[in-house]
């Protein structure tokens, strides 16, 4: 074998989360009353568009979570040795981006470096000028042909994207062919039928994303489309790598926070009395500690632990990963209080409802009442809160990394990118692209998540669609 799969802690948790989401989807499909609000989400154009964009982000994040360690080249018949570098599938796919490192800053689509260097002239003399980049636009002999070259390559990218998109449309039609009794009716149905409106919206969005992705992908092979950073790494590549960090912070935190919030919130509301008092004291106390300070302290503890136990972490990736998981944990511990308070209030209301009283009159055990009567009836609140909290957590990561208590500085993240760009903003001429790239990627993700949350909330609003 030329590689060994490596499952980091965060990967394991992410796969667990994916499994949970899959189980939830299957569960929803089998229950009509749960399916109905999701069908309403599918009917809203905004919901479908943002869902496809989020799925795109998620796909990149998942690709970046399939980690492995490549085998080192060794002589035959010797035991295989694996490198210390942990790579992901995304790294392999984006190998040209990863390996084409310049020496320092360069502007997007630049041909020359952003800093003057001493150049040796062919005649033996020296001159101080902006050198040509080693990789960015290196194929161009004539710097004046850049615009034409970019346009040509972009056009090729559009064609690639269109081809891919066409493939997806065919695939969608084929998958419906058996139900529509024939391929042609399936296509007309896909294009015309009002029931297929959600699929059309999804496919159109996907096509646009594919075209955009192909153009960017094609161009990024020959140019640094978002420039390079201080050590010459491609900013576009870093932004893609940051997606996983952002998604993990947003989702793993939720995974860690949910059991706390669900269990404590519902228990406080249902049992009342002393249980309620204790839980309320706990979350009031937690709320009264400034979150950033608590997080800073916890992250420092984690760092000290990593440094004093080097034998537990054989790669740099494992070290920075532990810090990420720890950050998610501490964010989860500090952020469950809001949802718990919400659930406590709702449970207080539900507890007095007559169907709960009826269940108690049957002598149904408390835990069973909680799981069959209360949980299903607060699930919409949980869902809405989780989707809304997600974007807040992505932003929190950026802020914390900027402050210096976020993820490991060696890990690609939007927060680290912004932090790195901080000093260079004062430089003349300004280095703006790192900041802009981080903002652009974060903006699209957070905006999509928020708009998606809006459609979810609308769909679950009982006033909109009668009693669900």
């Amino acid at each position: 074998m030329s590689f060994r799969p490596e499952i980091l802690w965060s990967d394991a948790l992410l796969f667990l989360l994916l499994a949970a989401v899959l189980a939830f989807v299957l569960h929803v499909r089998r229950h009509e009353h749960l399916r109905a609000p999701w069908l309403r989400v599918a009917q809203s154009r905004m919901g479908v568009v943002t869902a496809v964009i989020l799925a795109g982000y998620a796909a990149i994040g998942v690709l970046d979570s399939l980690h492995f360690r490549p085998a080192l080249p060794v002589a035959a018949r010797e035991p295989v040795q694996y490198g210390n570098e942990v790579l992901s599938v995304l790294d392999v796919l984006a190998e040209p981006l990863r390996l084409r490192v310049e020496t320092t800053y360069s502007e997007p689509f630049a041909l020359h470096l952003y800093a003057k260097e001493n150049l040796s002239l062919p005649d033996g003399g020296q001159m101080r000028d902006y050198p040509r980049l080693k990789y960015g636009g290196a194929h161009l002999a004539d710097t004046a042909g850049r615009a034409g070259d970019i346009a040509w390559r972009a056009a090729v990218g559009v064609l690639w994207g269109a081809g891919l998109a066409f493939g997806f449309w065919l695939l969608a039609a084929l998958s419906q062919a058996w139900r529509a009794r024939g391929f042609v009716p399936a296509i007309t149905q896909l294009l015309r039928a009002p029931e297929a409106a959600a699929w059309r919206t999804a496919l159109v969005t996907l096509s646009l994303l594919l075209v955009l992705g192909s153009v960017l992908g094609r161009l990024s092979l020959d140019y640094h489309i978002l420039g390079t950073d201080k050590v010459g790494q491609d900013v576009f590549y870093l932004s893609l790598k940051s997606i996983r960090t952002g998604l993990l912070i947003g989702t793993l935190t939720t995974l860690i926070m949910l059991p706390f919030a669900l269990f404590l919130g519902v228990a406080a509301g249902y049992y009342g009395g002393r249980v309620d008092d204790v839980i309320q004291y706990v979350y009031t106390t937690l709320n009264s500690i400034p979150g950033v300070l608590l997080i800073a302290a916890a992250v420092l503890v984690a760092q000290v632990y990593v440094e004093t136990h080097p034998e537990l972490f054989d790669t740099a990736a494992a070290r920075s990963d532990l810090r990420l998981v720890f950050l998610c944990g501490i964010l989860g511990v500090t952020s469950w209080t809001g949802l718990a308070r919400l659930l406590r209030g709702e449970t207080l209301k539900l507890r007095e409802l007559e169907y709960i009283q009826a269940a108690r009159a049957f002598g149904v055990a408390n835990l069973r009442i909680l799981s069959r009567h209360i949980l299903p009836n607060v699930s919409h609140l949980v869902l809405i809160t989780v989707v809304i909290d997600f974007s807040g957590l992505v932003l929190a990561e950026a802020v914390l990394s900027y402050v210096g208590v976020g993820v490991d500085p060696t890990m690609a993240s939007w927060g680290n990118m912004i932090n790195g760009a901080r000093l260079e903003l004062a430089r003349e001429p300004m280095v703006w692209w790192q900041l802009a790239a981080a903002f652009l990627f974060m903006f699209v993700l957070v905006l999509s998540a928020n708009l998606f949350a809006d459609s979810v909330r609308d769909a679950f609003d009982p006033r909109a669609g009668g009693r669900a």
Binding site: E32, Q357, A358, V364, H373, P376, R467
Partner: protein, 651 residues
């Protein structure tokens, strides 16, 4: 023409392509000093008619046809600014829930003053006018500075009426003004409304679902069904000889003492959902007298006699050979006389501690149930009546140990429930079950009906296998008159009456001996109420169930109960056989309750304080026969002429 003339009102909801009309061609005329009652079951469009008159329709609904003329003003043609001056001025409306209609952060005087300044430009001299208005609605003047939360429900409704009177309305619309109130307060408010209408020369449009209230109040009555007026007549004519089959049914489904032995009539089917297309008469599907013509031709509002209009083909085409169907007479279910008591409640008390301060010290107790004793035999129905807040529902929950009683004992079939440990209590729960008031809150919206019914079996009859449970679910659904396919559907697919049947089936699933019914029909329309009452009677006859039937509706009690216990302030004040209590009440409170029941022509009821006494008999401040001893000692529940009464007048 003076008064209100409403012609051909149509209200539409825009729902995508379709245009639904919850109010479809309603015409009404209300003369000056006249009271018209708009009567119908829920969803027939009566409230929307009122809101349309006020031009206060909720978003999404619009008036798409018709004219309304109030003393020469075309209400639907007025610009919104002018309409604002009409609303609360010459046209006023009072709503069902007085707490929601008064602003909680303004005093009563401020709210009346606002109406005075807007509609009568009275600013400085308002104080005298506020006093006059408060006196007119029977409120003490010193309440002017109180906030709504300091008033009782009846006082709030009076205050709301006072603010509405401030604009000197020519037409007052009252939308179920007393539905949220207790029967004794209802009697006072209705009397007040009638008196004000006569004295001030207002027109009154009274919206109600209660035939008895309409009988007391109205000069003319309009019966609505599915967005149309189906019968329109003077009160006397309507109550003596209702013509429309729907109106006739409304009368025949009402329970009362006279019908004790009989099965109640019922209207088959449900109110047609909004958006149904009617090729013929809207009622024909549920009408026992419908024939071909009814199915194809929508009847016009024919004039039967001058002043009596009916939307029924029977008015113009005689149908010989059709007699009113005879109802199957069921004999009265008499409980076996010499049975031992199934349920014995002795000195049961439920007190809620009042906690204050940082450490939640107990500083007192609300005595919701304060020493109640009674018995129920197998196959017997004991009705528990009383006003809201008297402790009826708390008593029911205390018996079931859903709330732990503070003192006293409950014996069910010879076992004391209070002493059972949790496992024994759990098994004992199979013998007593409860049916709740609100059919929408009593079924978990996230569970299928089949799962709802199986839940109790799983908990209390673990010996049943999966297949047996499924079979039992089908049988139970059949027993309460529902289709077996109902098991696979969710509660939201059912109407209120059907949900209440499901709730009854759920209770029956564990084969209880005692069923506690906590106001099971008060959230339902009268036609559905009749179905539920019939069902309860059938079940009692077949299974020998004992019922503890909690209700505030005396006619339901008169129809169903064998014995009646009257509760006041956590105690039983009178208990005995139903016919004798309802015909010859002894305790002054029972007399007050019976006298307040609507349908008796608004008798004058002495209004005393609504306050409770701390010492002595709690009813003394409201009592007309109060004696010196009443202020000193709380009377005990003693036997007097075959029943038990707690009053110093007897014994």
């Amino acid at each position: 023409m003076n008064g209100l003339a409403l012609h051909d009102l149509r209200v539409e909801i825009a729902a995508g392509e379709r245009r639904l009309a919850p109010v479809d061609g309603v015409s009404l005329a209300i003369g000056p000093r006249e009271c018209v009652a708009l009567l119908g079951e829920s969803g027939c469009g009566k409230s929307l008619t009122a809101l349309a008159l006020m031009r206060l329709l909720p978003e999404g609904l619009a008036i798409t046809g018709g004219e309304a003329n109030l003393n020469g003003i075309d209400l639907f043609a007025l610009p919104e600014r002018a309409m604002q001056r009409v609303r609360g001025g010459r046209l006023a409306m009072i709503f069902q829930e007085p707490m929601l209609s008064l602003n909680p952060v303004l005093t009563i005087a401020q709210q009346i003053a606002e109406a005075l300044s807007v509609h009568r430009s009275l600013k400085g001299a308002a104080a005298a006018e506020i006093q006059r208005l408060l006196l007119a609605v029977g409120l003490p003047v010193d309440l002017a500075a109180s906030y709504p939360f300091q008033l009782s429900g009846g006082q709030r409704q009076r205050a709301l009426i006072a603010t509405m009177l401030a604009g000197e309305p020519q037409l007052l619309i009252a939308d179920e003004p007393t539905t949220a109130l207790d029967v004794t307060v209802q009697a006072q408010i209705l009397r007040l409304l009638k008196q004000l209408q006569v004295e001030q020369g207002m027109s009154l449009l009274l919206i109600t679902h209660d035939l008895d209230v309409a009988r007391d109040m109205a000069d003319r009555v309009a019966i609505m069904y599915a967005g149309e007026v189906v019968e329109w007549a003077a009160r006397e004519a309507l109550y003596e000889q209702p013509f429309h089959p729907y109106t006739q049914k409304l009368f025949s489904v009402l329970p009362s003492t006279r019908r004790r032995g009989e099965r109640l009539d019922h209207i088959p089917g449900n109110v047609p959902p909004l958006g149904t297309v009617f090729p013929g008469c809207r009622f024909q599907e549920r009408c026992a007298q419908a024939w071909d013509r009814c199915r194809h031709e929508a009847p016009a509002l024919y004039e039967l006699r001058p002043g009596h209009r009916v939307r029924c083909h029977l008015a113009v085409e005689a149908r010989p050979g059709l007699s009113r169907p005879n109802l199957p007479q069921s004999s009265e279910v008499e409980p076996p006389a010499d049975q031992p008591a199934l349920l014995q409640v002795q000195d049961l008390a439920v007190h809620f501690p009042i906690r204050r301060g940082l450490f939640r010290r107990t500083v007192g107790a609300v005595k919701a149930v304060d020493g109640v004793s009674f018995e129920i035999r197998t196959g017997e129905t004991l009705a528990l009546v009383g006003e809201s807040g008297c402790g009826k529902s708390t008593l029911a929950r205390g018996i079931l140990r859903l709330i732990e009683p503070t003192a006293g004992s409950v014996w069910l079939a010879g076992m004391e429930i209070g002493r059972l440990d949790s496992e024994a209590l759990r098994r004992k729960r199979a013998e007593m079950q409860i049916v709740f008031q609100d059919p929408f809150a009593s079924l978990n919206p996230r569970m299928r009906v089949g799962d709802v019914l199986e839940e109790g079996m799983q908990a209390l009859r673990p010996e049943l296998g999966r297949a047996e449970r499924k079979a039992l679910v089908v049988r139970l659904l059949g027993q309460v008159g529902l289709d077996a396919s109902a098991a696979l559907r969710y509660p939201h697919a059912f109407s209120g009456g059907q949900r209440q049947r499901i709730a009854i089936a759920r209770a029956l699933a564990v084969e209880p001996k005692l069923l506690i019914c906590d106001e099971p029909t008060s959230a339902l329309d009268v036609s559905v109420q009749a179905q539920i009452l019939n069902l309860l009677k059938d079940l009692q006859r077949e299974h020998g169930l004992a019922y503890l039937f909690i209700s505030h509706n005396l006619s339901v009690v008169a129809y169903l109960a064998h014995r009646v216990a009257v509760m006041y302030r956590g105690r039983i004040v009178e208990e005995g056989a139903a016919p004798s209590i309802l015909s010859q009440p002894l305790h002054p409170y029972t007399r007050l309750l019976l006298a307040s029941a609507p349908g008796q022509g608004l008798p004058q009821i002495a209004v005393f304080s609504e306050k409770f006494a701390q010492l002595g008999c709690p009813f003394a401040p409201r009592c007309g026969d109060v004696q010196p001893i009443c202020a000193e000692r709380n009377p005990s529940l003693d036997t007097w002429q075959g029943r038990r009464v707690a009053c110093h007048l007897y014994g």
